[in-house]
Structure formats: C-alpha cells, structure tokens
Subunit: 413 residues, 3 copies
C-alpha cells in the first residue's frame, strides 16, 4: 500500500485504466488457476522455496498437490520478505478473500479449499479479466500452435521463435516445423524461408501481433551467408534470426527481443528456475540489426537493471527501438523504480511499453501490474506532479500511454 | 521546481554562486542563439523528434527554419515527458517570458517572433552571461583554431584532440596540422612531437586551460613503440594519445578524458544524434596512464551511470584523477542523483568538478545547471543537512567547490 | 542521524540486537587501537588523505606518529564530505567524548592525548565489545597462524587462502606451508591435498568457521587436471581453488568468496590503498563451482554495486549461495541502499548475511555497523512498515536475521 496520499490517489486513478498485457505465458485454453497448486507452482515460488531449502522431490508430478502446497507455504516463511510473497498475499486477498496480516502454514487448508471452490466457478475467467481490467492478453505461442479454440481478440497470439533460432538442429523441432508448414522437406535455406513465411502467414491470419524471442547475453545478430550458416551452429542461429527480422519486415510485425538470459545455469534447479544472466552484455551487439531494419519496431526487454541505461539511450536515439516492460530479475520495485525513472526522463513517452506480467495464469496479472502501478504512481507524484512538470490529469494520461495506448498503436490491436 | 522547502532554500543560495562551465561547445564568435531554430537545432531536440517519428528531411539546410521549428515542436508533444523538454520550458520561461504551463504548436509563431526580437538585442550575450551568473566558459577548440577574435578570459580555449588521435591518417587532417604548425612535412614521430608542442605552445599562450578528448569504450592507452605505431592504425592512435599525455605533463595542462562513446552507431541518425555507448568498458584500461603521469590531472567523464562507481573509486584512490560532470546519456536527474550521491560520499570534495553544460549556445547553460543544482540541493538537504553532517552554510560551501572553486584551482583560471 | 522518526525508532531497536561481525581483519592479540595513529592509520584515511594531496612520506614507520596524525587530519578538511569522515566523527564522539560539530586540526592534540589515555585502560577491549554489542568477531587468519593466545569463542578464526591459491609458487609461501603442516616436501598435488587437509584440520579444531578468499574480476574457477595445473600459473591457481572447495565440502565449512578485486592498480598508492576493481566481471564465471558443490555454502561479496543484481539473483536461485555484506567500494550508503533494497525484495531472508565491518581495529565496528543500521532502518520503514508489508516487530526480527541469526546458523557459531 502506498503511504503517500498523492501517489495513492494517482494509483487509484491509474488502476481505472484498462490494460493491455503485451507479454504473458498464459495458456488461452486454460487461462486461470484451478487450485492453489496452480498458483504456487509458478516458478517464482518453487525456485524461492527450493533456494530456501525445499527439496525438489515434492515438485514431481507424483506428489500430492496439497502436500506440494504445504511444502512451499512452509518454506514461504523464509521468503516472506520478497516481492513474490507480496504478489501471493495480493492474490489471496483479492481473489480468495483472505483477511489476515500474514499467511502461515495454518492457513493452508482453508486457502486450498477456498481456491478450489472459487476457481471452479464457471465464469471465473471472466471475473478475473473484469476485476483485472484486462482488455487484451498477449500469448507466447509455439510456432506450431494451431491458434484455434480460443478468442484471438482477447488472447492475442505472438509467434515465439526461440525453437526456430536455437533448436532447429534437433530432428523433433524440424519435424514440428515441417508438419506445421506442410512442407515435406525443410532442407535448405530456400525451404526454410518458405517455412517461415508460411508460419507468419498462419499467425497473422489468426490475429498475431508480434514475433518474440529470448536471447542469450552474447548473442550478436548479423547477416550470415548461406555458406557460413551451413558451417557452424552459432552462425546458423544468427542467420535464422536475421531471416526472422526480414519476415517481420515483410509481414509488418513488431519483433519482441528479450535480451540477456543464459539457460540452465543452475543445472539442478527447479523447472524454469535454472536460468540466470550475465551482466556483461551490450545493446551495441544489436546496432547492425536496428540499422538494417528501420521498418521493424523492436520491443526490447533487458534482464539486468545495469543495461537499462543502454535501453533508454537506444530508444532515445533509434526510431525503431521501444522499451518493453521490466523483465524477470529486474521485475522488483528496487529495480523498476530507477529503470522507470530513467525511461520517463529520457525516452519519448510514445515509445514506452510500460509493463507486462509474464504470467502463466491470469491471477498473476493483477498483483504484478499493481506492483508496477504503485511504483509508477510514486514516480509520477515525485518527478512530475510535485515539481509542477505535469498536472494530475497529464500524469494519468502518461500512465495511459504506458499501460494501454502505446501497446494498441505499436502492436496494432 | 523543488517541492521540499529546505532543498528549495538551498537551491536559491546555490544559484547565487558564480559559475565556471568547464566544458562546452560554444562558438565564442557567435555564442548565443539568434532564433528558436538555433535552440531547437540542438541535437537533443532533433534526435528526440526524429526518434519520435519526425522525418530527417526537415533538418537539411534547404528547409525553412520556421518549418523546422514547427516540425520539432509538433513532435515535442511526444517527448514532453523528458528532461530535455524541461530545459526548453526553462529557456522560454526565463529568456522569452513564456508564461504557459505547457508549450504547444499553437505557441510556435509567438515564440519564434519573440526569440528573434529578444536575441537580436546588441547586449544579448552579456544579458545571458549575467543572468546565468557565468564567469568562465570553457570551449572545445579545434587544434587549428587561431584563438583570436574573442575574449579568452571569458571564453577559455581547450585543445580538442580527437582529430589528432583518431584521424591523422586522413590527408586533410594532416594538412590542417601542417598548416596550423607551419611545419612542412609531419611525416615521422619526431615531427609529430614537434607539431604537438607547437600546438600546445600556441594554445597555452592564448589562455588554454585544458587538453580534451572523447574516447571509445574499448580504448586502452599504453606507450607504443615507433615501430608498432607504424604498423597499425589503433596502435598509432594509442601512441599519439600517449604523446599528448606527455605534452600535457610538459605544459602543465589537465587532460579531460570523456570515456565511452561509440561514434555513428545509428547510421541514419540526425547530425550528432548517431552516437551511443557500450556499457562493457572499464577504467582499468586507464590504470597504466594514471600511473605513468602522476603530474597530470585527468578530469574524467564517463558515459554510463554504471561506470560511475569506478570513477568515484578511481578518484578516491588516484591523486591525479578527478570526477568531471554528468555526461550526455547520464545527464538526466535519474542518473545524476545516484552518481552524485556516490561521489559526495566517497570522493574528496576538492576532487570533484561538479557539472558542465556541454552546450552549443549560451542559452542552455542556465537550464542545464539548474537541473544539476536542484539535484545537488536535494542531496545536500537529505544526505548532509538533515542527518546533521553539515550546516546549511557548509553545504553551500561544498556546492561552491563543485560549481566554481575546484575548477578555478584545477584548471588554474 | 536519521531525520525520519519511524526510521529512528527502528534504528534504536536494531541497535539493541547483539552483533556477529562475520568478516574483519582484527588482530585478536591486539584487537583495539592504542592511539589516534592506530585509528587514522586505517587505509581508508591514508588513501583519502594521499588522494587529496598528502605526501606518502609521512606514512613510513620512521615518521613521528603524532606528525602522521596531524598530516592526515590536515588533509581531512578536504574529505570531510565522505562516509569515512563520518566514521571518524562517530568514533571520537562515542569513544573519546568529542563534542564539536566538526573536527579540525586544532583538535588534534586534545584528541591524541585523550585517545592515549582512554585506550590505555586495561578493560578497553571489553568496554568496546560491550558498547558495540559484539558477540563474535570473525578473523582473517593466515594459514600458518597457530590460533593460540586468544579466545577463539569471541574471535572466530577463518582460514584465509589467497596465499595458497595465488602465491604458492613463491618459495617463502611454500616454506610457510611446509612448516605449518609439518610436511617435508609439498611437491606434488597429493602432498598439497594432504597439506590442505592438515590446515583445515588445524583450523576447525581451533574453532574456525569459514574458509575465505578474495578473487580478481577475471577469475573463473573450474576443475583442472594435474597435467594442466603443472603447465601454467593461472591453471594452478584454479586447481588449488577447486581443491579448497573440495576440502570445504569435506570439512563442512562455508566458503567466503570476495569477488572482484584487482591488486596493485595504483602502483604508488599507500599500503592497502592500491587496489581497485573492474566492473566487467560476472557471477556466470562461478556457475560451475556453485553447481559442483551443492553441499558448500558460498558467502559471496561483490565489489561493484552493478554486480549486486547478479548476486541477488544467484542467491535467489542457488540454494548454496548467500549474500554477504557490502564490501569496500560498495560500502557507502549511496550503494548500500539500492543493493540492500534489492536483496530484501528478491532474496530469501534466511540467505542474507547483512553486514561485516572489515575492520582492523575494534573501534571501527560500531560506526560502520551504525552506517549500515541506519540504512537498514530507513529501508525497513519505507519498504516494509509504511506499505504495511510488515509490523515494526517483524521488521526488527528481519534485522535480527541479517545481523545475527543467519550468521549463527550459516557459520554454526
């Protein structure tokens, strides 16, 4: 809760703005949690519980879901200082009616029962969307997702391309591509290019609004000759990536770049809790790309707060680079605050996509956006309204750009 | 405007201190703007407008200046959240008498007329200097500048050496050097050394107080043998740089190092709006230099806020390293604040050159210094006066060192 | 002094918590200062005075100690803005009864006399420990320290291993090792491993609670084959380091890693005032180590605030990585504040060792911990109590974990 009255008033106003959530991992065919296990199974909780001493065994599918919830809540007492704990408190308060100051193991059964009861309501998805004030939810769609069986107006497909760039040498990935594109034999670059166009055609016909990829810290895109692509795996990845950028240009799709993640750093970590970053990276690695594709809007997320100044500066200079959210290890108020202040002072306001939830279940959209909105409200109060650089109405209009209107314009939704 | 009364009072006091601006790009023969086009032609506005969607065409010299102003002001509505917009507001309020809360395209004609009228006053330069409380303005002088035709007491020449270090392989640069030094044939290192001495002699006789250079992130100075200098371009640059440091030592001139800029990163950017940085750099690259020249004071600017801790630590340890201003992409309150706090807590107060405007026209000195002074006043209030680490008088004395007295002593003005 | 009443109340409560200081350079056989020279001889003062213009000559052992004190206090007027000056003020106020607002050269004789008088009291050590509320003081013990002649319950030995990893190629170090382990000829890896086990056995029998080392920014541990260890010096260092980690595992000792220091960067600096860092480093270099030794707790200190996000994220993910204090160039409020905020929001509270003094004399424990406690109190007030994320009692309990209970559990004291 915000302590400062002006910031609190602003926060209330900002919460009234309808949201576009431009990056999530929601499964549109099962967008909500069905029980507390679906909530606490989020990797933020399993990895913190494991880091604080919980054995991974309880996370296997053979374990009893209630035992798993108990184990995580038991260890939660060791990380009840974290931002992630606050998200959980906000979820159980807002959606389950929990009224205590802190949550303990003693609340476990009540919470589990309550969650199962409430989340089983037939209109639960609509309730959540309405109470979260959510207009559009962007997905992270596998390239071979048929994109049917859900409302693509509400759940906006985005073509996730990590597999294509980094794993096309795996026979099963190639097979998936051949199946998805109904091409017999994707053997050479000409065929690959045709396959990519088929994917983009399929996606855009089904309402896709972005192409997206996450990239390791040392990745440095550049055009690669067919001969070089044939030679080594890294050159091949760079080459496919460049082809994707060309296809984004041809299909007029923004390209979401999530820069900086090293996969499987903690080898024995929980599922999705094994990745970390290397602060030694630079957007200079992307200068060639940004120069080569002036027609493509690159929505860039960086993983370390240290790199935020580069991101703000690149957005300030390059017309086709926009700032995108506060990602993963930078998604805590201690980093959102300085990163957002810098963007608000340095980047044209029309070039900032404020926030995305990165959520796997709709229940997380509200608490994560609230965390962001509180930080935003405080900055607007301190840096804009109090120094008389903006009125309250102007500050809320600025928030509307960050939370909705820029996403509408940039992604054309 | 500062909201905190104590900080506001301090700010008022600090604004009374006469200023030395130890780094600008002012043309001493035409130091002020003549119209709004001269103000909005500053690369901060052209690059933000371009980044926010403005076509570069309007910036060519064939365009009508008023049309250019209109185009930039039209796009300004997209970046009226930025620190740069605040500078503009402060200029039109302080110098043109603008009284509105926001500026819009509707104000364009009035502002243009008003600017032309006011800036045409014969004593405009004196008015600006007086109202900005400016004692000395340091220049960035080309090595072949005759340094005549202006008051070198007010406008202090500084020998800019980028061309010598990085472009002496270009025939036109070599020719300029030969002409400036009246040496027939600067062909070998002995001749080059003589040429440098002639330049330093010319500059110091005309009141120059510093040698200055901007350097790319990967630059790593070290002494280079003549044989190695002959071999490759980068070694040659390092060798010339080392000779400059030797000449600074011999002529007792401080050496301003502006570390971290990559030139022409955004190839299609506006004039002076193409450069960016690479956070992957370290002052460890300068350890040899700082060790080799204990007699030379190095006034160091860094381009990324992330590198500020290195700068503060190097100044804390090396007697000949002083902190210099808040440069370019770090020159917004969101970065000035943490960077300045760290310097004030870690670096001897006599070794900090607080701020420089980097301005091309005198009109920018006031708003840029005001931005710095507001940040400084708030930090002095919060970190020094409120915790009773200093009285208000002592805090203002500290500000005087940062804004004037250290520059007087270090540059010997 | 804290200006905010809530933070001040919290600070008072936090100061009541008994302390464990998990990293110092205290000499347990002479733990306190005997005079002002022992206080101002701390490298923080000699290096700042030298950086601000003091000649190093006065620091040689031939100089008169009072002259040395006068020289440092004379130059202190040039760094009375720094955190280090505040430590000194707090020492002379708390322990010497100084009552002035500022200290000047005019106070020198009085302070010197007073210090000699007060520090000569036979129970001075006990007084300091009691007034500093200190339970346990961790040492940095040379590997050949006999560990006798002091109370190892109060002064907890820690095996410092820099010499073993980086200097075993020096004959005198090898001789010290042979003498300490009573092994005739430590010639091969088998003998070295036996020597290490003997050291660990000696240390743990004398109450040692940790193994510790400081590491340069480019260090990247990995297992090394005996053949490779024989080949080059750097591989040898990596190999010995890996053997130390294995021995930590076998003896169940935590391993303190102090990551990022470059030695002798300023070649002509004062004693202990020559080291700096290189921000270009990453914890990714330690991923192999953290994966290979899940049974070893690594207590990690980083030297640059920029690397704090990596540290917080690694502690968030790796069960065997804990955050350790605020080291050296990051040990000023301007860096403690953002670094601590991030840790409190992202790392399980049981995995944070809040602070260590790094002191050479007991007198420094109080002012350094006070600096930390003030910052901690303000963050607890702003980020936990005011937003109603914790009660005051819970906030103090969190502080107790950081200042005492985590150290007790992790180091098993």
């Amino acid at each position: 809760m915000l302590h400062d009255q002006l910031a609190r008033d602003l926060y209330t106003e900002i919460c009234r703005l309808p949201l576009i959530d431009p990056h999530t991992h929601i499964d549109p065919r099962r967008p909500t949690a069905r029980n507390l296990d679906d909530i606490l199974g989020y990797h933020y909780y399993t990895e913190l519980a494991h880091s604080a001493g919980m054995d991974k065994e309880v996370l296997t599918s053979e374990s009893d879901p209630r035992e798993r919830v108990r184990a995580i809540m038991y260890h939660m007492a060791r990380f009840d200082n974290t931002a992630q704990y606050e998200w959980f408190m906000e979820i159980i308060r807002a959606f389950l009616g929990f009224e205590g100051e802190r949550v303990t193991l003693a609340d476990c059964t009540w919470l589990c029962d309550r969650a199962e009861h409430i989340m089983a309501q037939p209109d639960w998805e609509d309730q959540i969307l309405r109470r979260s004030n959510l207009e559009h939810v962007f997905l992270t769609s596998d390239f071979d997702d048929p994109l049917t069986g859900f409302n693509t107006g509400r759940y906006v497909p985005c073509l996730r391309t990590d597999d294509l760039v980094f794993h096309l040498d795996k026979p099963e990935v190639l097979k998936r591509l051949e199946k998805a594109t109904q091409l017999d034999d994707v053997k050479d670059l000409r065929a690959l290019r045709e396959a990519l166009r088929k994917l983009f055609d399929h996606f855009t016909r089904h309402g896709a609004k972005a192409c997206a990829i996450s990239l390791p810290p040392e990745f440095s895109p550049e055009p690669v000759s067919p001969a070089d692509m044939a030679k080594d795996r890294k050159a091949f990845s760079r080459g496919v990536f460049w082809m994707l950028a060309e296809t984004c240009r041809d299909f007029d799709l923004p390209f979401d770049l999530m820069i900086g993640v090293n996969r499987r750093v903690y080898e024995h970590g929980v599922h999705q809790g094994q990745d970390l970053f290397d602060q030694q990276t630079s957007l200079i690695q992307y200068a060639k790309l940004f120069n080569a594709f002036p027609e493509v809007t690159f929505c860039v997320s960086v993983l370390s707060s240290g790199q935020n100044q580069e991101l703000a500066s690149y957005s300030w200079i390059f017309p086709n680079v926009v700032t995108h959210g506060h990602w993963w290890y930078s998604n805590i108020p201690a980093y959102i605050e300085p990163d957002l202040r810098a963007r608000l002072q340095a980047v044209p306001k029309t070039k900032q996509l404020g926030y995305y939830s990165d959520a796997y279940k709709l229940e997380f959209v509200l608490p994560k956006f609230n965390m962001y909105r509180r930080t935003l409200a405080q900055i607007l109060a301190d840096d804009f309204i109090r120094p008389r650089a903006a009125s309250e109405v102007q500050a809320v209009e600025l928030a509307r750009l960050l939370l909705r209107d820029n996403a509408r314009r940039i992604f054309n939704v």
